[in-house]
């Protein structure tokens, strides 16, 4: 072994060790926990700057994306979902329960009979792309008023019908779930959409009902909703972080 190969080998192994330690340090639980404080800073700062009522930008018909992309579950394989789909969701019911005075069970016809809001908004995937679509449905606050939230309710949880992680050891983390606070739940643009671009919601986009919470990223826009639950704390939902992706490391506050 001559000096040159020796030096090259040394440099290569030093680079390799550096890369390996980068990988280790950058993803160590303690490191990630420390970096997590920034989510609190962002949520607090944005909450103060944005305020309760500021609206997400709305667009025109001409801006609607012809190639609106669907992500996450796009064709749920769950047998109960497939049965509901086969019956064109005639047997589907939206359950609203948890910390409410009068739990609800609503059919699609019941939801379509409620006053609806239509909005053309931008959907921002956490991956970086955006698509623009037109959404129609009742405001979430109308349903919460009808069910009458108890004063101890702090979060609204969306339980979905699609299994996105069949391999998880925690059965509460297999199907999709999401949660928002009451500020976003009561926001004017927070609706339960049954129509997209003037047509009933297609399966890839969450038929028969999905959430639109327009000041946050795509993974908050829960699809295939079956049940809405009012809770005081997120500790007992899935892994405790408040959502399917939140339990897998993403931020609960997805305004950034």
């Amino acid at each position: 072994m001559n000096r040159r190969t020796w030096i090259t080998g040394l440099a290569a192994s030093a680079a390799g060790m550096f890369a390996a330690s980068c990988a280790k340090v950058s993803s160590a639980p303690t490191t990630l926990k420390m970096l997590h404080v920034a989510e609190k800073w962002s949520k607090t700062a944005q909450g103060a700057i944005i305020g309760r009522h500021a609206l997400a930008p709305e667009f025109t018909e001409a801006d609607i994306s012809p190639d609106f992309r669907a992500n996450g579950s796009i064709d749920p394989g769950d047998l109960d979902y497939k049965a509901l789909l086969a019956g064109r969701f005639a047997d589907w019911r939206l359950v609203v329960d948890g910390l409410v005075e009068s739990p609800l069970s609503l059919s699609l016809a019941d939801l379509r009979a409620l006053p609806a809001r239509t909005q053309i908004t931008r959907h921002d995937c956490v991956e970086g792309w955006s698509s623009i679509g037109k959404w129609t449905g009742p405001r979430l606050s109308a349903l919460l008023d009808q069910a009458r939230l108890k004063p101890e309710a702090k979060f609204i949880v969306f339980h979905c019908l699609d299994t996105l992680d069949p391999n998880t050891t925690n059965p509460g983390m297999a199907k999709y779930y999401e949660s928002i606070d009451l500020v976003d739940a009561r926001h004017e643009q927070t609706i339960l959409a049954y129509d997209m671009n003037g047509q009933p919601l297609a399966v890839p986009h969450g038929a028969p009902l999905r959430l639109r919470v327009e000041r946050q990223l795509g993974y908050k826009q829960a699809k295939y909703i079956g049940r809405i639950e009012a809770v005081a704390s997120l500790d007992h939902i899935g892994g405790g972080a408040g959502g399917f992706w939140e339990d897998r490391g993403y931020e609960w506050y997805a305004g950034i």
Binding site: A19, C22, A23, S26, S27, L32, L35, H36, V37, A38, E39, W41, S42, Q46, I49, I50, G51, A54, L55, A56, P57, F59, D63, S65, D67, R69, R122, D124, C125, V126, E127, G128, W129, S130, S131, I132, E214, R215, Q216, L217, R248, G249, Y250, E251, A254, G255, I256
Partner: protein, 276 residues
Amino acid sequence: MAAEAVVAPPGAKVMVKRHRLSVRITHWINVIALALLLVSGLQIFNAHPALYWGKAASFANPWLSMTAERYGDKTFGTTFVGGLSFNTTGVLGASKEQGVLVERGFPAWATLPPYRSLTIGRRWHFFFAWVFAVNGLIYLATGLINRHLTREVLPRPKDLATVFKDPHLRLKFSKGPDSARYHQTQRIAYATMVFIVLPLVALTGMTMSPGLNAAFPFLLDIFGGRQSARSIHFICANLIVAFVLIHLLMVLLSEPINQIRAMITGKLAIQPETAP
């Protein structure tokens, strides 16, 4: 600064004040923040390695994209830029992860963490975005108060008029009192970074936040939509990398130890002008 007043034997070097404390501290914090923002930013980019102009993505027409294509049992990395395509196998589009060629925008050695993890990339990026923003505001505030920005950085009309006479352009670096001040090209380069590129990278980053879009919708109008903001953010990151490479080259070509020491201790060693 005050170098003329120093009397020293011929050939001897003297130490003169070069960089203020506030500049030195914010400089090194910026080095750490920008380095981590870059590598975590490339990790985030890799989640969707394509860029568009406008409000939304037109998936069929990115102006820049990195993809992997398979022909038979071979994988190729291809980079498309403005209608042209380049075979970038091994670096962009497809590169090796633990010895295997896989589809990824930027290679493992350029991203934090090296393996694919959007969540961890975002954690690092948004933490150091705060560090970068607060540090940058402190730099601007102290720089305005102590006149560092207006007196030492901002190019004067005569700097613009004489920019091509700057010996730095011919890679000639004085070791005399002249090296203890910013030259025309330095003023222009630093001012471009401080007043244009770095604010732009911060503002386009904020424009990608759906939350901040509700508070500052005019930012979307200024940059031409969220996807345009993402493109400008990426271009700014490239400009910062280009600036840093030239900046480091200049340090290496002049007096690297003297220069780096000056950015740490504040004192630069110079050769006083010999008396005629």
